[in-house]
Symmetry: C2
Amino acid sequence: MLNNEITERFKIKHPIIQAPMAGGVTTSELVAEVSNNGGLGMIGAGYMTPIQIRKQIRELKNLISNPFGINLFVPKEIDVTLDNIKVANQLLDRIREKVHLPQKDNNIEIPAFNNMYETFMEQIKVVIEENVPICSFTFGIPPEKVISELKKSDIILMGTATTVREAVENEKAGMDIVIVQGSEAGGHRGSFSNTNNEGLVGSISLIPQVVDNISIPVVAAGGIMDGRGLMAAICLGAKGVQMGTAFLTCMESGAHKVHKDAVINATEEDTVLTRSFSGKLARAITNNFIMSIENNEQLLPDFPVQNKLTQDIRKAAATNSDKEFMSLWSGQSPRLAKQQTVKMLINNIMSQAETIKTNM
Amino acid sequence: MLNNEITERFKIKHPIIQAPMAGGVTTSELVAEVSNNGGLGMIGAGYMTPIQIRKQIRELKNLISNPFGINLFVPKEIDVTLDNIKVANQLLDRIREKVHLPQKDNNIEIPAFNNMYETFMEQIKVVIEENVPICSFTFGIPPEKVISELKKSDIILMGTATTVREAVENEKAGMDIVIVQGSEAGGHRGSFSNTNNEGLVGSISLIPQVVDNISIPVVAAGGIMDGRGLMAAICLGAKGVQMGTAFLTCMESGAHKVHKDAVINATEEDTVLTRSFSGKLARAITNNFIMSIENNEQLLPDFPVQNKLTQDIRKAAATNSDKEFMSLWSGQSPRLAKQQTVKMLINNIMSQAETIKTNM
């Protein structure tokens, strides 16, 4: 069950995908080490320009000959007014004061988001030109035209779903594989439909219900950190796992030292769901930033506008190594996080999985 | 791994515990059928009087010779004022109107809850006198004196936990086994400490983190409905599973037909967490009752006061088979629920588990 259509299709040894965490975590060193050790390394390219994407793909091709993948964010129409931005900036100004940044409320402008679709198409162009073998998507399903172009180039496509309905939509759109994100997952929720109850379903419930309703292979994501999680996902009907937090604290990851330490010292009670950093629901370790916005989340503009507005704060906090104002993304299993190399992590997962299999 | 210290200790064939759902679901027929088919049947006695408890235990002893268990609610001090009750009744009066019940707001009284501890001690006395082999607790850990008395009678004790901290407290208090309830679970949350973030952790995260921090056996609860869930729980380090929703829709369960149908027709998106019915956080299929209280949940008195206040409404709704005003408890896996006999359910779970084991 650990060698299956996923490992065959991806030409990888182990059914382990490193989650494409955006924002500097997926260094070429991290991606290369994952792919070199039998998993699938993924570039988190959601926030990257087409030029940056091409540069990292070429860097990776110099480092490894194994397959790797890339993740892009599917843009959607945004609806934001100057008033929305003013209100959000007023809330954020209280935080700016705490991190010694200049106020913004009298200096409002709507950031340029109208070219998001064009940027996305350029990102797709680079993926095709550079022959990246695997491409995954979050926050939506790309237009038919994009899917058929990628397919013409034999690129394997993975979509993201947080409910059965979203998984079915991914299959219908022609995705080859669907990543099913349980409520345990760290970072942004991949939801893209108007789900009831924000689509927060635990993996032990969500995975089998999805598996029963689609024919394409399922990859389980959310809360999986070791061989126990991998084997559980396989028992539930998934063909592989996508792991974020477990790779985030690895030596090779580009996450800030303060972020890695925060995850390693956290417990399962310390993460919360918040829209404060980006306008989109995400799971992070709670801190001052989240708590100061908490009661006003409904006033924030949507992703990616709020993400843009908080950029100066997050940057300043990172420069000052101030964990109270950084986005400390984490899944619900931080007690299982370790500071170790990717090689050690993957070896530990696979030997634990083998032990479970043997004792079954 | 399916025959382990849990099956040995309980003298049962399969590591499957039927959740002690309170409020009439755990008929003697249900409990007996579970125990007769190799699982552990449990009486949900939280709301029962000592006399009712003794009656059902004797009824069960006439039906089966296999072991069965019982669950009790650990009472805690309640702090409620006439004003709290008045406010809650005003909110509930809008609902009473819809179900054609008389208004209550001018007819307030504090229900008698001061004898809760005495009732609990009488329940314990019956459990000891009737030699019930297994006793589990929710909503707290019983006082030391109660634990040592039950242990003197060789009764196996199970506590309930929703976080690592709560599991550790259960172990320290002398519980033999701990039931670990993931965020997927239907009905009331078993939380009893002031957890951050309401202790809503998905099972795939929670189980291994608990297992790493205690030495007593762990039983996984929440979202488990079939052999896939059982095998996943075992991989995560649990020794058995406790299943509620899966037994609720069985032919032998005492749940209202409307409740069973609601679960069978629901999807994973349809359940929400609510305090509206009882004052304690619980997972149910969303309906008019929940939605009408939603924005005022912070005004409601604690469990069990709110539970008492809503009794007339739930009773009237059940009499009228009106699903919009009943408490339709359900976990997050309703797509996996079936109308079947207990025998079929347990056979299906075990044969699916065997298939997974064989193909591993």
